[in-house]
Amino acid sequence: MAEIEVELKTAPADFRFPTTNQTRHCFTRYVEFHKCLAAKGEESGACEKFAKYYRSLCPGDWVERWNEQRETGTFPGPL
């Protein structure tokens, strides 16, 4: 098997969420991403970091549901 060199990177351990329960961590990253988009605009790449973090942490179903809620205006977070 050929040696494959890969660089592994994922959402870092966040000191704001040191315990086992990471629900709030996933939610916070999602909200941060959308706040960043609202502040900096869709095209700037500065918000991509937050996007990667929430995609790593949050299950796909949750992200889908939240995207739908944002579209209908029922998202329960501080966007």
Binding site: L8, A11, P12, T20, N21, T23, R55, P59
Partner: protein, 233 residues
């Protein structure tokens, strides 16, 4: 720079339960090694106490048999022995507590950022694994379902109720973060040889950090009753 390797074994390896097994499975992570070592520490004191208490009990029953010895009480006071038998048994739990707390707190310590995040999502009655670290959009890039192979479809040498059609593949000697959650009812993601048992609670993401130290195939089963097919029979 991490080298990814995985082994496919066609005979039952030692990281699943053996028939009539009494002890733990072989450790694959430092956490499980710690648990096994703690078990050995505690077992030593357990045997000491067991032998001591059994000896006293048997002696009391033997020497104070009602026919040989109708008056049961011989000694009324004994300050020295009373002090000793209070102090000594309170020191033994200290020897047990010290390694126990050391392991407990070291399990929670996050020393290094994880290198990869894998989501283990429990369903009735299968698992879904998501690897989303490299998504460029919200669509999942790598998601697959993992069903237990029914008994009728097993090949020779495979373990019953343990084999799955799509195994979750993880890099060895890498700090993993596993996020466990269910899609419907409570489940529990358990891999005994890695020392992992993490409840999947609806609406909650539970995180566990492990670092598998050797390549191999490790088995586990759902550990929280989740409906009629929880036992998959």
């Amino acid at each position: 720079m991490i080298v990814l390797e995985w082994l496919f074994l066609t005979i039952a390896p030692c990281d699943a339960a053996e028939p009539w097994q009494l002890g733990s499975q072989d450790a694959a992570t430092p956490m499980m090694q710690g648990i096994t070592d703690l078990h050995h520490d505690i077992f030593f004191f357990l045997i000491l106490i067991l032998v001591f208490v059994s000896r006293i009990l048997v002696r009391a029953l033997w020497h104070f048999h009602y026919q040989k010895n109708p008056i049961p009480q011989r000694i009324v006071h004994g300050t020295t022995i009373e002090i000793l038998r209070t102090i000594f048994p309170s020191i033994i739990p200290m020897f047990i507590a010290i390694p126990s707390f050391a392991l407990l707190y070291s399990m929670d310590e996050v020393v290094v950022d994880p290198a990869i995040t894998i989501k283990a999502i429990g369903h009735q009655w299968y698992r879904t694994y998501e690897y989303s670290d490299y998504n460029s959009s919200d669509e999942q890039s790598l998601t697959f379902d993992s069903y237990t192979i029914p008994e009728d479809d097993l090949e020779f040498g495979q373990s019953r109720l343990l084999e799955v059609d799509n195994r979750v593949v993880v890099p060895a000697k890498t700090h993993l973060r596993i996020i466990v959650t269910p899609a419907d009812v409570p489940h529990s993601w358990a891999v005994p040889s890695s020392g992992v048992k993490c409840d999947a609670v609806p609406g909650r993401l539970n995180q566990i950090s492990i670092s598998v130290q050797r390549e191999g195939v490790y088995y586990g089963q759902c550990s929280e009753i989740c409906g009629t097919n929880h036992a998959f029979t």
